[in-house]
């Protein structure tokens, strides 16, 4: 108790006495600096040289640059940057820059309502103030007018544009050649071939099938790929008249999944077998969803579990619980960090790209298979570029990196 009292007293002392001491010091300093102002020389003047619009943006930003004599740098604390819309208007402080840095990137607001708003294609004037260490400062002449503007084409993204064009070309080409009836070979994927077997097994055992779309939203392509596979699985399920359980993590995903499953039952000629209770919403929180799905697994005891889509840390909890109930498990995700857990705990795993290919495989639709061919060509080209890259780097030419550099 006494110990606490001492601490309290110490805190009180430090809290009350010390600030006073500090403020007292500051008070004492004021006359000094006032004196200094009268006697001391101002630092050299900065000279505004240019105001450059940043390329490849929507405007509203400008880099203002200035010159400053080298001997002045040690005399100043830094610069202050002021801006106005007319040379004799009121100048507003925009920001500071350190003493050895002679440019300032002025980021204006994009919205007209923003007090910070900076219009495109209008004149702006700048003034730079060097703040002397002695408290005296000196102003530059007014620089300007400078303008900022938005660009129509982003030149830094040319490699990306080329990529889009090449890829789109391949895709359209192979799809159209597939349309003409050209046979395309695709190698077998174990995970895909197991789908039919897995549905059949559940039917034999009289147990349901659990289909998990992951914890992605409709903004994840993996989820959308999973819808296609769900459509196939649901059609098989409808034909075999097995039960299907699709617990969803996100309401939009649930809505789409309901449409997909309903259509699949329709396609299989059993629209009466479908009801909306098959596809339902659990919750939108990662681990609460896992808790719910775990409960479903141990109580409904599905014979087959599908985990296809976007997964995070919950992957192993699901897969291990599924394993403990003896279900056949088919997984696939584009989350690199989670693939190892599925590989370890599931019977079949679609690794990354295979998840996207699966929809084409299951459809056996020539159009979709055509796009697989396009992917392979892109891979082939990339491998050739890698090879060229390695060879040219070996001969000391670094150009390939420059060619593919994306400047954002």
């Amino acid at each position: 108790m006494r110990y606490k009292c001492i601490i309290a007293a110490a805190v009180l002392f430090v809290g009350l006495i010390l600030p006073q001491a500090l403020f007292a010091q500051e008070d004492a300093e004021v006359p000094d600096s006032l004196l200094a102002e009268v006697q001391l020389e101002p630092p050299p003047q900065p000279v505004v040289t240019e105001g450059v619009d940043r390329p490849n943006d929507n405007g509203h930003k400008l880099t203002v640059k200035w010159k400053y004599p080298e001997e002045g740098v040690d005399l100043i604390e830094g610069f202050e940057v002021y801006r106005s819309m007319s040379p004799d208007g009121e100048f507003q402080l925009r920001g500071q820059s350190p003493a050895d840095y002679f440019e300032y990137f002025d980021i204006g607001g994009v919205d007209k309502s923003d007090p910070d708003y900076m219009a495109n294609d209008e004149d702006y004037y700048y003034k730079i103030v060097a703040i002397g260490k002695n408290g005296v400062s000196s102003e530059s002449e007014i620089g300007g007018p400078f303008q900022t503007s938005g660009q129509v084409f982003h030149t830094g993204k040319i490699p990306v544009l080329i990529g889009v064009v090449i890829f789109a070309f391949f895709t359209v080409y192979f799809i159209s050649s597939a349309k003409k009836g050209k046979e395309l070979y695709v190698r077998p994927l174990a995970g895909i071939e197991a789908v039919d077997e897995a549905v059949g097994r559940a039917t034999e055992m009289g147990k349901p099938i659990l289909y998990i779309l992951g914890i992605g939203t409709a903004a994840d392509i993996a989820t959308i790929a999973s819808f296609t596979i769900l459509g196939r699985v649901a059609k098989k399920v409808a034909e075999y008249q097995t039960d299907l359980i699709v617990p969803c993590y996100e309401p939009i995903v649930m809505s789409i999944a309901q449409d997909v499953v309903r259509s699949a039952y329709l396609e299989a000629g059993r629209p009466d077998q479908y009801n909306d209770d098959m596809v339902f919403f659990v919750t939108n929180a990662q681990f609460a969803y896992v808790a719910g799905v775990n409960g479903i697994m141990v109580r409904e005891r599905p014979a087959t579990n599908f985990y296809l889509g976007y997964f995070a840390a919950e992957s192993l909890i699901l897969a291990e619980t599924g394993n403990s109930i003896g279900a056949i498990q088919i997984a696939g995700t584009d989350q690199i960090t989670q693939i190892p857990f599925f590989v370890v705990a599931c019977d079949y795993t679609l690794i990354g790209e295979e998840l996207y290919a699966a929809s084409a495989y299951l459809g056996r639709d020539p159009l979709l298979l055509g796009s697989l061919k396009a992917e392979d060509w892109a891979k082939g080209i990339l491998m050739v570029v890698f090879l060229i890259g390695v060879l040219t780097v070996a001969f000391g030419w670094d150009g390939i990196r420059e060619l593919v550099r994306v400047n954002l």
Partner: protein, 297 residues
Amino acid sequence: MNGNGEQKSLVERLQFIDRRIIFLFIAVAVVLPLLFGATLKEETTPIVQELFDFIEHLPPDSRVLLSFDYGPTTAPEIQPMADAIVRHCAERDTRLYMMAIWATGHNLTGSTIEETLKPEFPGYVYGEDYINLGYKAGNQGLIRLLFDDFKRMYSTDANGTAIDEFPMMQQIKNLKNFDLIVSFGGGFPGIKEWVLYAGDPGNIPVGGGCTAVSAPLLYPYYPNQLVGILGGAKGAAEYENALITKYPAYGKKWMGGMSLMMSQAVSHVVIMLFILFGNALYFILRAQRKLETGGGE
């Protein structure tokens, strides 16, 4: 399968050992070291030592910005780092500016102050030596704004007191006024965003502490863009080791990272023993089968 249970040998049955036995072993492996307060020393590696040395060479009254960018789920890994670095900074008499770009970080800032800073450094005065600025939304956009104008976003501290009333805030105009930024937490937004939106453009030293999982994603930024990184419990324990080496008084103190490492080591060993055990059974079984079939194939 279950019907011919009697015919199975012991080895065969052990192969499919009830997983609850494994669970029990793991639980014991984690809990026992905790109960006995056992700790494990970790030799400090350069990536951790450099951050330590940087803080060690900060002059008194240097300004250190600590951003608590993690949540309760990763706190077991990251809290020991925050404690160790707060201790070290306080030993060096630096000024601590604590903030969070994760909403969940706010509570953790508070508990770091209440449980580590206040009891161990009673001389530290709020508003002069340390301040809790609280959480602000905006992710990397917030960092960008702070980079230009700190007080525009932080006009008050976490308790709503106007920022200009604190003596230690008077010299702060923007992020460039800080001598070091340390971000705790490797998620998004986190260390990477601090590097990209503050450290790189402003040439401000940035250090970080993150979970073991996200550490490999950050190693590429060291040493050019990051002073040092504490990766997972191991990184925390390494920093604590450096701290004890320099300030031996901490040797008597309970250290979160080192205690975590003991549980880690024991449970890793348990998992490895199970793997070895399973493989041994597998090979015994295979040898037996070969004998039974005559091994002629």
